[in-house]
Symmetry: C2
Subunit: 331 residues, 2 copies
């Protein structure tokens, strides 16, 4: 597969430089580290830090900026960043109000982010964490590390970020982040796999009439192979897992139709039309809809649906001003 | 190729419904037409109307909203909309200050948009047009219909849109749109072709080490086949055409690295890094950079570079508030 790169060894470095060059007055890089921060660091607020392996762009560098994150740590493609990178990120942006680290639930990310957090805590900086596992593909978590962090994570960046920007305390921001993490579910379908640049071949193979339901975002196969279906039926399959119980009953929701990188925007909108109709038929009230590439897997084709159960406070924060590369909110 | 659709016959209709469902409080559809308008139509300003064949999403429905367009007309995939659709769009959003129609330079679009314009003019509404041909791939325009309209068109939507929002006259808005059209150049490279849903097969075939330089955005092949090259060399090939003379000498510029639909955002950022370095080496000052999917060709892989020669007035308008699905500017 052809890729617009120079050398796979420089993939992360050149991508980070390209992100900074996209918004050079607002973003900065910690010299010698794979860490993107706001250019103008505000230590009078709770700092929000996230990150993980690369390959999920615009996550997470695209969400650094006013109203969202303060710093992100970028690991190699689909690989957790190291604790010393995470330590550097936290130290760079954290003041007396402390920091919240937002971690997607994968074994590597949890181990390394927690190690990074410990390295910082010896310096007296207050750091809290929230672990996001919005994935509802895996019913039996006893056999796995549990639900994985998927595109629903971006709702946490946005809502907790807006609260931090308003000057809330670490306790309040951490509580809100945990509430959002507990209120969002995601389920995805892959229709074509991706190729990790350094590997050069697809991580799984699908035939012309197969899809992977419940896939992860690291090129791993899904929980179930299915026949390729029309958009409406794919949406129904994903919704069946997300709406399996009374979780959302009586609440307004925010939804995200997230492209996995190689899906045309037109197809995401067709899926969104099917989603909007399905939710309307269930009398669910959608307060906000996002459609686009938020958490991708390189050029994978497919999409995920995330649904967030909103409180009035979350809804206000979701619509508060944000100014990042990949989520701007004109308040 | 697998596509997230229901029936190719309903592609346009369902996509438009999905776009409206993405922002139902701000966007609307003219009943019975493939026309997307702002929900709250402001007839006290010059109206801006654009459109063309579908398959280029987020162009152009993603650019309807405050600070940009008032209405877009959506044709079948890669096919111009009909005059009666264009007439309906102009009539719906145009008041006494008149309308500007922004047309990408393709034979079908020119014929149909001009016919639509004539249908409206008999009603006494004032309508001006600007034809955009930012493509610099074709040196010898005597053999063709001339330079095609590509991603540089979006700069016109933004800058003329901001001026119209400020209350400028039709003459002023049309003049600014023409100035921007005369100041932007675009050149693209395709590394993998796309598949039109109703056709079901790729419009051209590239081998594992081939690319198409100077491609159009309708699945047509480019002006020249080349070997696949590293990102840096692809960027240099595109820049060689764009910077072939003294056109930009002494001016600040705005640049767009536009993904063609199936290109990972990370690769666009790698190309942007190469572009930023190349322009710096030439002492060109970049005032604003856009990286992402703006004018796509379904799931085509590849990218285009657009460079706009800025005046101070254009720069101000480029950064003015905008609130559309695909271009938000937090002023």
């Amino acid at each position: 597969m052809k890729k617009i790169i120079n050398d796979p060894k420089n993939y992360i470095d050149e991508m980070i430089e390209g992100i900074i060059a996209n918004e050079p007055t607002k973003l900065s890089r910690i010299k010698g580290f794979d860490v993107i921060t706001r250019k103008k660091i505000n230590k009078d607020k709770v700092a929000l830090i996230s990150g993980g392996g690369a390959g999920h762009e615009p996550a997470h560098g695209g969400f650094v900026g006013e109203g969202m994150l303060d710093a992100v740590v970028v690991g190699p493609v689909f690989t957790s960043p190291t604790p010393n990178q995470i330590e550097a990120a936290i130290k760079e942006v954290t003041g007396d109000k402390g920091a919240l680290v937002i971690i997607k639930s994968y074994t590597g990310d949890r181990l390394n982010f927690e190690a990074g957090q410990m390295l910082v805590e010896v310096t007296d900086l207050k750091v809290e964490k929230v672990i996001v596992g919005d994935d509802v593909a895996i019913d039996d978590t006893s056999k796995t590390a549990g639900a994985r962090g998927l595109a629903g994570t971006i709702f946490i960046h946005k809502i907790a970020g807006a609260l931090a920007e308003q000057g809330a305390s670490l306790k309040e921001v951490a509580k809100m982040a945990q509430d959002v993490a507990d209120s969002v579910r995601t389920m995805g379908v892959g229709i074509e796999a991706c190729v990790v640049p350094a590997a050069g071949k697809a991580s799984f193979i699908l035939s012309e009439d197969e899809v992977e339901l419940g896939l992860g975002i690291h090129g791993e196969p899904g929980t179930e192979k299915s026949k390729m279906l029309p958009s409406k039926d794919l949406v129904d399959e994903l919704l069946a897992k997300i709406l399996k119980d009374d979780f959302y009953k009586g609440s307004e929701v925010a939804v995200m139709v997230n492209g996995l990188g190689g899906t045309p925007i037109s197809e995401l909108h067709i899926a969104n039309n099917d989603l909007a109709k399905a939710l309307k038929a269930k009398n669910m009230k959608v307060a906000k809809t996002l459609v686009g590439n938020y958490v991708t897997s390189l050029e994978m084709k497919g999409f995920s649906i995330s649904i967030l159960k909103l409180t009035p406070k979350m809804k206000t924060l979701l619509n508060a001003k944000a100014d990042t590369l990949a989520w701007k909110e004109v308040a």
